[in-house]
Symmetry: C2
Subunit: 107 residues, 2 copies
Amino acid sequence: MDQSAICPRFEKAMSIMSQRWTGLVIYQLLTGPKRFCSLESSMGISGRVLSDRLKELENQDIVKREVYPETPVRIEYSLTEKGRALEPMMKEIEKWSQTWLPVEPTP
Amino acid sequence: MDQSAICPRFEKAMSIMSQRWTGLVIYQLLTGPKRFCSLESSMGISGRVLSDRLKELENQDIVKREVYPETPVRIEYSLTEKGRALEPMMKEIEKWSQTWLPVEPTP
DNA sequence: TATAATTACTTACATAAAGTAACTAACTGA
DNA sequence: TCAGTTAGTTACTTTATGTAAGTAATTATA
């Protein structure tokens, strides 16, 4: 019954993007490098999962981690070229949401 | 610390798209109406979760469910206008995956 | 000197989501 | 009456996520 086999690369992309929080993390980083605690508080993700996601995205070469040995230490997360290449997709989600989603979802 | 508040409509869109399987279900339906068992077998999702997702997408008015009282009964799922409006986003993921993901991820 | 503060995490535990496999309902054809 | 078909549902297990406290490294403060 496996009629329409899905392109494995598309499937992979989807499996990355359809993990909880991943899209939002990338979206936040589109506006520039961010620190751990800044991401944590601006999107309401738990530190435990944020830590996981950043590691995964680093492994995928979508996010880059840079350490600045100041006091206290500063660590910045930013997008790689591969990560920035996701901007057009983000823009399309943005457009769709503005066209099709109500302004007040659940008051 | 909630510096950069995220647009609630974008956040909502992301929360829909970042649920496991949701993107793939929509992607499959872009090629035309599909039946439950066809979706189930073509993407390897469990019936339990597929059932959940289709209900959610119906509630969001992204998917339409139609019953044909044949024998045995035929039920078709298809995209609404709101659902089809996600095609540009899907195309962008497709493009990204073809540009940035390797052909053989894990042999 | 001890205590507190800061950042970037990790750990242990609890809850929610997803996978598995068997089961049901409604119908028909043998 | 029994088997076959589709579209699910149910009970149970495994995995993912949330919560809250803890750690390491460093400096500032009482």
